[in-house]
Structure formats: C-alpha cells, structure tokens
C-alpha cells in the first residue's frame, strides 16, 4: 500500500513537473515563469508551515524566520565562498536544520498560544539580528551585488529558463517529499499528537520529540522556499525574515485550506494573483485585501479547498441519507 | 399542583456534532412541584439540564415557561425569564470572594421580585456568612455547592434547576444539602433536580422521571418508583 502510494506521488510529481516544464512553451512571454518561481518559493514555504499548523496543530507566528534564513544563508555562501550551488544548497539546509533544532527545542515544549508567542519572539530576534549585523548581512539594505550562479553539472541558473526549471523541480520534489512525510508513520504520529497529545503520551509517543522533528522538517522546507526566493530576486532582504512573511504564510494557509495537503499551494496561487492584480488596479489595496480576508474568515470560515471538500462530503452524506428517509 | 404547569419541555432533540444525544425528551413541572430527573451516568441528564438552561443548543423541541417558549433564546435571556441553573460541577468563580460570587448572581426576578436579599441568603445559608470574604476557590466542595445554590437564588429564579447537587460530596454534607433543599421546597420553590442518587431525592421530590440513553422511559411519583424494583434495576443500577 505504502509503496503504491509513494509511486503515485512520484508519478503525480513527474506529471506536475512535465506540465510546469511545458508552461513556457505553451504561454509565450516571460511573465509566466516568473509567476511560477514565486509560487514555488511561497508554496514551499506555506506548505511547510501547514506541516506545523494543519498536521501538527502548532500555530507558529514566526515561520518566516526560516524563509529568511534560507535566503541569507544561501546568498552569503554563494557570495563569500567558492562552493558550488549544490554544495551551498546542502549546507544551507544543514544550517537551517541546526538552527531549527536549537530554536525548536525551546519552542515545542510550549503549548498553543505560547508556542505562537515564542516563535514570534524568536523571529523578531532574528530579524533584529539581521538588521543589526550590518557587516555580515548588509543590514536593512539586504545582500547587495547579486547572487553569483556558477554553472554546475551543466545547469546554468543565470539562464532564466533553466532557473525556472530548477525552481519548478524544487517545488515538485519538495511537495512530494512533504506529502510522503504526511502519509508516513511519522505523519500519523504527528496528527495523533495534534488531536490528543496526552493520549499519544500514554501510548508511548515522545510528544516533544515528534514535534521537534516536525519543526525541523518544516524549517528545512521553508528554507528551500527562501533559497528559491533569493534566486528570484538575486538577493536577500530583512523583510524575508519579518512578520509579514509569516503573516503571508498564515494567510495563504487560510485562503487555501489547512486540512488538504494542496490547500496551501492553492492559497499561494490565489494570494499572488490577488496581490498582483489588486496592486495594479488600486492604491487602496488594503481595503480590497481586507474585504477578501473577511470573506474567507467570516463568510466561508475556512480555506477554499477545505470548504469545497466539506461541501462535497456533505452532499455525499445527504445523498446516502436521503433514501433511508424516503 | 395548584398553579398548573409551570415548565413544559417537549420533543427535545440534541446533537453533538453528528451524534444524537437526546431523543424527544419531554417533561413538565407544576407550580411549587419538585421533579427528580433520574438516570445513570451518561444517560442524558446533564444535557437535558443544559438544554433547558440554554447552554446546549437544541435542534428541535419546545421549552416553555408559563407557556412562553424559550427554546433557542440565549442563556442570559432564559435566566432572566426565571430559570435558575446550578451546574453539576458548581462552577463558582474561584478568585472572587464568597460575597462577590453572590453579588454577581444578583438580579431581580422576571416580575421584578427581589425575594433573596443578602441577609436572607445568609439566614438560609448560615455556613456562608462567616466565609463571605474568603476566596471561593478555597471553600470545601460542600461549601462550594451551597454557594452555587445561593448564587443562583440571588437571581430570584422561578424554577431552580439543580444538576447533581450531591455528586462527589461526603454523606454528611449531602444530608445537609438535602435538608436545605427541603426547606426551599417548603417555601414554595419549584425545583427540577437531576440526580444519579435516588435516595437523595426521596422525601424531596414529588415525582421522578427516568431518562436512559437520551430517552424518557418512565415517569411516576417518587414513592412508586422506589417500590418498582424492575425499573430501578433496569435504568438506575441500584
């Protein structure tokens, strides 16, 4: 069963990548690839946040710190060392995992709203470190001068199409891996700690350890999102590690839905389309965005995909129930 | 039952999520009457009481006080209409003093009556008088139960809804609370009391109605129920 599900994921991923790869051919212009790259960055980030929020029941207000960390670590490694892109990428992931282990060890012990607070506090601490440590990070001006992209294994990320394909691959691979995690025994245990941590404890689950692992995994995928973003803008900025990014992540999750694996991905597409069109049409984008949020939060009361699936489930339930009554 | 029907509950259906808890529960209470709602743990007593107090939403049914349907109204409106609810786990405000708990409960009755001034409360509940400045959280279980009843009386209810007042208390305290309730009844207070402990209700309730698995299965004068071993064994595990 498990093996067949994994195969389905891999095949689905391959198909998705094939579609992505065809996009520049089907749709002329350079806008679509740019849009997909941004979707990859935010989508990886938001889906990783949903590992915590949706599957782990851990509402993090500070997840953006790992997005920022990924962008800065990768950018700095490329600017200041002679590492190849894959090596720098691997090292960035290691750094993110290490930092997340330390921060997570402190955070995951706290429950509910206090977990949210402490993650926010760490994010603000890291953001103020980035701003203050001008010598390393460039302070508020960010990493300047562009991120060099030496060719590796015949791949040239300075080429827009190759960068596009690489980012699309990162997105697809990241999503497949995360889906495997969610479907695994670990994913099951994680959901158990979400639904009833006490019971999970009785059953011999080390709740803190499970949460910590989830925290680190989520941080790693968020960091990959950050790397993609840094390649897109060819730099890194303190905003990447700011509350706005964490807030966007939350918003995306709520837009798309947290109970379906692809909910955050759908949310990403909606948010970016919304952002791009609204800012184009009006300077009072705050009101427009605010009203849209209210529609989701008060009108639907859940993300779009959650809403749709619930509706389908309801319809099925009534379809089953009605013959009995009739 | 001089004044006719005071509280009338009909066709009460309650769901928690998808699962149904109460099925067409019905009961009625005459003016000045005391009715015991008996049943095993989990039979639906507390849900019925909460539903009457407006704390659990009914999907269907009628809860009429003096002919006025209160179903669907918000809890504070139901309390103002005259239903005074004493919850099973007492739910006193632990950080407030005893007197503050009472003051929070104070309101006039539906006809503007103010029959329970603090003085009378302390007369009827002499145990509370010396504790008035103590934090309610530091009272014993029995004292907390007394406080919970007194607090609800401060609101001048027409019907007193008591949910398992004897639960978890020492026998001596249970006796004391029984005596208190009998004295309340003697003053003409109408009482609906949900209990697992049938003996507690003997000599207190006029009638008893038995609930099992969310359905009313038996209603009779309490003395008759005591004599009916079959019903007792089947529904009350005695």
């Amino acid at each position: 069963m498990v093996r067949r599900a994994a195969l389905a994921d891999v095949l689905g991923g391959a198909a998705a990548f094939a579609v992505l790869a065809a996009v520049p051919l089907l749709i002329g212009g350079k806008a679509a690839p740019d849009f997909v790259i941004r979707c990859a960055a935010y989508g990886l980030f938001a889906t990783s946040l949903n590992l915590l929020v949706g599957y782990g029941g851990m509402i993090s207000f500070g997840h953006g710190m790992f997005f920022g960390l990924g962008a800065y670590a990768f950018g700095l490694l490329m600017q200041r060392t002679a590492l190849s892109i894959p090596a720098a990428f691997a090292l960035t992931i290691l750094i993110a995992a290490a930092v997340a282990t330390v921060i997570g060890a402190i955070c995951v012990r706290l429950k509910e709203i206090y977990f949210a607070f402490v993650t926010l506090a760490f994010q603000m601490l890291i953001h103020s470190l980035i701003i203050s440590w001008v010598g390393l990070t460039g302070g508020d001006q960010g990493l300047r001068g562009g991120i060099p992209r030496p060719v590796f294994l015949g791949v040239d990320l300075a080429n827009r199409i190759q960068l596009y394909l690489a980012c699309g691959a990162a997105l697809v691979i990241g999503l497949v891996l995360m889906h495997r995690i969610v479907a695994s025994q670990f994913g099951y245990t994680l959901r158990m700690t979400r639904d009833n941590a006490e019971r999970a404890g009785y059953l011999g689950v080390d709740v803190v350890r499970v949460r910590l692992i989830a925290f680190v995994l989520a941080a790693v995928f968020a960091c990959v999102g950050g790397v993609v973003m840094s390649l897109f803008v060819s730099g890194a900025y303190p905003d990447f590690a700011d509350w706005t990014v964490s807030g966007d992540g939350m918003f995306i999750n709520m837009l798309g839905g947290i109970n379906v694996f692809l909910g955050p991905m759908l949310g990403t597409v909606i948010l970016l389309l919304l952002n791009d069109t609204v800012t184009r049409l009006t300077e009072h984008d705050g009101i427009v965005l605010g009203v849209v949020i209210l529609f989701f939060a008060i009108g639907l009361r859940k993300g779009l995909l959650d809403f749709v699936l619930d509706r389908i489930a309801e319809r099925r339930a009534t379809a089953v129930a009605s013959p009995e009554r009739g | 039952m001089s004044g006719g029907t005071l509280l009338q509950v009909e066709d009460l259906d309650i769901f928690y999520g998808a699962s149904q808890i109460l099925f067409g529960v019905a009961l009625s209470l005459g003016e000045g009457e005391t009715l015991a709602l008996l049943g095993r743990n989990g039979a639906g007593k507390t849900t019925t009481m909460k539903a009457i107090a407006g704390l659990a939403a009914a999907r269907r049914g009628r809860i009429a006080l003096r002919g006025v349907d209160l179903a669907g109204r918000r809890p504070h409106m139901i309390a103002r209409a005259g239903l005074g609810f004493v919850p099973e786990d007492r739910q006193i405000f632990p950080d407030h003093t005893v007197e503050d708990n009472l003051l929070i409960g104070h309101k006039k009755g539906p006809e503007g009556q103010d029959a329970w001034p603090l003085r009378r409360i302390y007369d009827v509940f002499p145990l509370l008088a010396p504790l008035r400045q103590r934090s309610a959280g530091r009272l014993s279980g029995g004292e907390q139960q007394l406080l919970a009843i007194a607090r609800t009386l401060m609101g001048n209810p027409v019907v007193l809804l008591l949910d398992e007042p004897s639960e978890g208390l020492a026998p001596i305290v249970v006796q004391r609370i029984g005596a208190l309730l009998r004295s309340l009844r003697a003053t003409g207070t109408t009482i609906l009391i949900a209990e697992q402990n049938m003996h507690f209700c003997l000599g207190l309730a006029d009638r008893a109605t038995v609930i099992d698995k969310g359905r009313i299965v038996h209603t009779a004068p309490i003395a008759a129920l005591q004599a009916d071993e079959g019903v007792r064994k089947r529904y009350l595990a005695l």
Binding site: I131, S234, D239 | -
Partner: protein, 419 residues
C-alpha cells in the same frame, strides 16, 4: 490629464489580462503594436510611510511627461508611464520591475525606489539588461561601488557623500565661528542613517579636526517616541547636534525635543529639515535650525527654479519634494539622451548618457551633468542654511563648492577601494 491617462492604461491592461483568463500568467503584450509609444515602467512607493515622497515623484514625472509629449515625445514617440506601488518592499520592487518589463512591455525603467528597493531593482536591471535610471536612492555605493555599478544603470539623485562633504564644510564654518567642539549625533539605525552620519562626521572632522563626538543616539527607523534618545543627548550636554532623521520622524523629534528645550541648549544641524513637507508640517518651527537643501524653491535663486516650483504647486496644491526634482531631472535626461541618440533604444541611450549635460532648474549653474565614470549626477544645487519659521524658510543657502566636493569624493572612493 496625464494622471487619468496613466491609470486608464493601467486598468485597460489589467482588464485585458483578466479577459485573457489567467491574469498575470497570460497577460499579453498589448501595447507593442503601437509603435509610436515608448513605455517607461516606474516602481515606486505609493503606500506606507514613504508614500508622500513616492507620490511627489510620480507627480513630477507626470508633469514632465506632459511637457515632453506636447513637444513631440522621446525621439518622436509618445511616452506612456506605467507606475506601480512596491509598498517599499524590496522583493515587491524586484517583482514589479520584472513585470513592468516582461509583462507590461515597458522599454525603460525609472526606478523611484528608496535605497533597499533601489538595490533590488538594480539587480533586475542587471538581469534583464534594460536601461534603468535610479531617482531616489541616495546611498553612495549604488553607483560608487564598481561591483554594483552597471553599464545600463544611472542615478539622477543627490548622493550621500556629496551631502556630507557640503554639510561638513558648512558645519565646520559655523563651529569655528561659534566655538562648537562637543558634538552629538542622532540618526535612525539603518543604512542611510549610519552611512550618512559617519560621512558627515568624517568631513566635519576633516574641516575642523578638534571636533569631538561625545555621544551618538540610534533610534529605530520610524520609532514613534524619541524621548529616551533626547534625554540621553541632554545628559551628554553637547554644543551641537547633527541629525539625519527625516520627514515625520524629524518633525516628531523636533516636537519632542522642543518640550525638553533641547534646541535652546545646542545648535541643531538637521540635514533633512529644508524640505517643504517637513517645514510645513512642523507646527512651531524653531528658528535657527541648520539644514541642507532638500528642495527649496529659492535655491538656486533663479526664475526657472521658482517657476517650476510654482507650476508644480499650482497643479498639485502642494510644494514639490526633493524626490520631485530628482524625478523631474531624470525625465530631462531621458529627453536629452533620446534627442542625441535619436532613439529610445535602451542600449543607445546608455551610450549617450555618460557625460551628458542637461539644462534644468536644479543645477548650480542651470545645468546638471551625468558623470561618465560612475553614472551619477554632479553640479546639482546643494547647500546649507538656517531656518526661519515662515516662508521662504531658509532665506540664505550657502552653496557647496563642486570642485571641493569632487576632490574629496575621489579621496573617499579611494579609501573605500572603489577605484
């Protein structure tokens, strides 16, 4: 009016994109067909704390566009501006800049971002190879640092190091006359604040070596309350205080300092005071504040400058800002370059821009020159003076000496290994 035409275009493009069914994904390059048009994309800050300045940039640009179009356009082509709000976020600035070129089909970029957004747009210009003129990023390294400099990017904007040289020399003059030796500084803790302060102090000491900096306060950018910084400065009892706080932060600082009577205890050198937005916003403008010129219609004291300010004011019901003149000047550079190259092709414009001199009201001698070696402007009006509470606010500006500025700037570049 240009404003309406601009927004109409924006809306039309967006609607067309929506009609295509996939908004940004499939936005067609609709305007390409109209060959008589040149589209200039402009990311700038139209919401948030800096929106006032972004707006004033847009205002100035639209005013010039109308004039240029009336005179036949750029090399015979009518200018269409596509102006977008980045909210001051660098990643948005980068995204918008890319989109302006890739989706909106803009031919040229007029980068109206402040410093960090400016660096982000600079990277986009590097990536896409499009001609980009920065108008609002004062950070010197943008064009001074050869690692950042691009053949296709230019800056039409005052520059931090120029300001500091003029400010230092002016301050040293005042300090010598009044015996001000103990100095303090108060600057927002971000790149502009730190760099500008360091350079100012450097040149103050250059012109008056026995000056001593006894304390430095670093409030956060946009900090609402400066009380703890003000009291700290009072404790140190300096004779003079330099600050590069700006706009709302500067007025709040002056208001808060006033109730501590700080200004009666030390001379205040506030480089960003002499800007109409700030001068008119302060309710009780104290006299005798030393300030650099941001934009002031009496400096340079020419009829052209006054006429431009009056025209702007008549049109927008407010005075122009320092961002306004810079953007106005940038449009003049586009105009002159297109004329010389007889083309609007970015590569051809980039070839003729270095060394180009244009006639504008904001030059010391009526002209500003795009310096060839580092793609940044010189000879713009720059000076310092002291305030009075009412118009003209700064009656006497002491102009900076461009020969001196250029010499010291060259030394500064050498010291920073930029040459």
């Amino acid at each position: 009016m240009a404003t309406t035409s601009r927004s109409a275009i924006g809306r039309r493009a967006a609607l067309a994109a929506l009609g295509a069914g996939a908004t940004a994904l499939a936005a067609p390059r609709i305007v390409r067909a109209q060959d008589k048009v040149v589209r200039i994309g402009m990311p700038t800050i139209l919401s948030g704390r800096v929106a006032q300045l972004g707006n004033s940039s847009r205002n100035a640009v639209l005013m010039e566009v109308e004039r240029i179009n009336a005179a036949g356009g750029l090399a015979g082509r009518r200018i269409e501006m596509v102006i977008r709000d980045s909210k001051g976020q660098p990643q948005e600035a980068a995204r918008i800049a890319r989109e302006l070129i890739n989706t909106e089909g803009c031919d040229l970029l007029l980068d109206g971002e402040a410093s960090s957004g400016g660096f982000a747009v600079n990277e986009v210009a590097r990536d896409l190879g499009v001609l980009c003129v920065h108008t609002n990023s004062e950070t010197s390294s943008l064009t001074a640092d050869p690692k950042l400099r691009l053949p296709n990017a230019f800056r039409v904007c005052r520059q931090g190091v120029h300001d500091s040289i003029v400010g230092g020399s002016y301050a040293a003059g005042v300090a010598k006359a009044k015996g001000l030796k103990r100095w303090a500084t108060c600057a927002p803790d971000y790149a502009y604040g730190r760099d500008t302060t360091a350079q100012y102090v450097e040149y103050l000491k250059h012109f008056m070596p026995d000056v001593e900096i006894i304390t430095q306060a670093w409030p956060k950018l946009f900090q609402p309350d400066y009380t703890e910084n003000i009291t700290k400065l009072l404790q140190a009892k300096p004779q003079a205080l330099y600050t590069c706080l700006w706009a709302g932060d500067l007025t709040a600082f002056v208001d808060q300092a006033s109730i501590y009577a700080l200004l009666s205890q030390m001379e205040l050198f506030a480089v960003n005071m002499a800007d109409y937005t700030t001068l008119t916003a302060v309710k009780h403008l104290p006299p005798g504040i030393h300030s650099g010129n941001r934009y002031i219609k009496t400096f340079p004291k020419t009829p052209q400058n006054a006429a431009w300010a009056d025209a702007y004011r008549a049109r927008y019901k407010e005075y122009p800002t320092t961002w306004s003149w810079q953007n106005s000047a940038a449009m003049h550079f586009f105009e002159a370059a297109a004329k010389r190259a007889n083309s609007v092709d970015g590569k051809k414009l980039a070839e003729v821009l270095p060394g180009l001199t244009v006639e504008v009201p904001f030059g010391t001698d009526g002209t500003i020159t795009m310096r060839g070696e580092d793609h940044t402007i010189i000879n713009y009006a720059i000076g310092w003076g002291t305030t009075i509470p009412t118009e003209p606010y700064v009656p006497d500006m002491h102009p900076g000496d461009w020969k001196q500025i250029v010499e010291l700037e060259a030394e500064w570049k050498k010291a920073n290994h930029y040459t």
